[in-house]
Symmetry: C2
Subunit: 224 residues, 2 copies
């Protein structure tokens, strides 16, 4: 019982800081996205294409979350955006407190869109609200049709789904309509995109949607 109590307390404390992050971001008019996925789905590549596409149109910043290394922050920094790397040292998800600390090290009052790239993990980050406006789940075409059914919490808590690595579809037996159907079965409200960071297909549509969200900035709930 004590484990459950402690876990509940951790989540309560996390949610409290997440609310404070959200209030700050909304006050400053920052649209914050929490990008979640399995390792290797192409979150960082998608982010690179996004920074490239929206450069000059939106003032953007990035928080990179990784278990080890600052490889992703190095990749993202090449696009000339402010970036903070959070290394969790074994921790399997980002928490609101880590994001709060990172926010204090970013020029957040000058930022219109903040991308938080979570640790590559399709399970644990689902339960941790960071104060984002929206969660976006990225899945690679190589991961199979069944993932929304096997990892439902992540898909249920997300606002949008990006099916990435669309360029590999000709070489896979994936039935993409089954993947879509499984995702919508878990969360009928999911906004869907199909992208390839290799060919660039779908990137413009994804970025236009993002741009519209960041420009509108209604108050949103970050956790479902």
């Amino acid at each position: 019982m004590s484990v459950i109590t402690i876990e509940r307390k951790i989540l309560e404390k996390n949610d409290e800081i997440a609310r404070s992050n959200r209030a700050l971001l909304e006050k400053l008019g920052v649209f914050a996205l929490n990008l979640v996925s399995s390792p290797g789905s192409g979150k960082t590549s998608l982010l690179e294409r996004t920074l490239e596409q929206l450069r000059g149109r939106l003032r953007m910043a990035v928080i990179e979350g990784d278990v080890h290394t600052d490889l992703d922050a190095q990749r993202v920094a090449r696009y000339g955006v402010p970036v903070v790397q959070i290394v969790t040292h074994g921790g399997c998800h980002l928490e609101a407190k880590l994001v709060q600390d990172a926010l204090s090290r970013l020029p957040i009052e000058k930022t219109q869109a903040l991308f938080i790239e979570n640790v590559g993990n399709l399970i644990c980050p689902a339960n941790y609200d960071l104060g984002e406006a929206m969660k976006v789940v990225v899945i690679s075409t190589t991961e199979g049709e069944d993932k929304p059914l096997k990892y439902p919490a992540m898909f249920r808590n997300a606002h949008a789904l990006v099916i990435n690595k669309a360029d590999l579809l000709p070489y896979l037996s994936l039935r993409i309509e089954d993947l879509r159907r499984n995702a919508l079965q878990v969360n009928p409200g999911l906004v869907g995109f199909e992208t390839s960071c290799v060919t660039g297909s779908g990137i413009e549509e994804w970025c236009e949607w993002l741009y519209e969200q960041a420009s509108t900035k209604p108050s949103r709930s970050g956790s479902a």
Copy 2:
């Protein structure tokens, strides 16, 4: 501090049950593998090809671990092996106690090789010994070269690395020698395989190695 204490206690309790699982498996001469990976790396497909290849040569059994659904157990059951599905209902890794319960539901005294397919997660299962003889980490060619550096615990604690989906190599920019080098940097003792469950390449080599391990059955340490 209390969280750390509780976590240590959970791990100590887990290790105790893992030791008991290991003692039972070694006494009965069962070679147990703990298959770990990201979601969608192809663990279940690799297991299917393995069951197919070694059918008639080894008496095999399977424990499937998933956050939700028994889809994988259904797939594996088609190969005529005893299988138990563990559904963790949100839990991000298998634990020794769950495996202990599953063992009691398998004809374990008649089994020579036991495959435990862990939950798809490249982080949390690294810390939980299940009582296996060896951990095998499976990574898909689509996941990128950097994963051993970003998720080192899993690669450090594994005995073997299977690089799966080799059939996709012609369509990827992956430098497989970099992936291998990164893995060996984290764990120089890793035994390496390259497989494709589509073309069947590398499956025989992987299965012959497995067969040899299961036939030799020396006492091994399951956690690094």
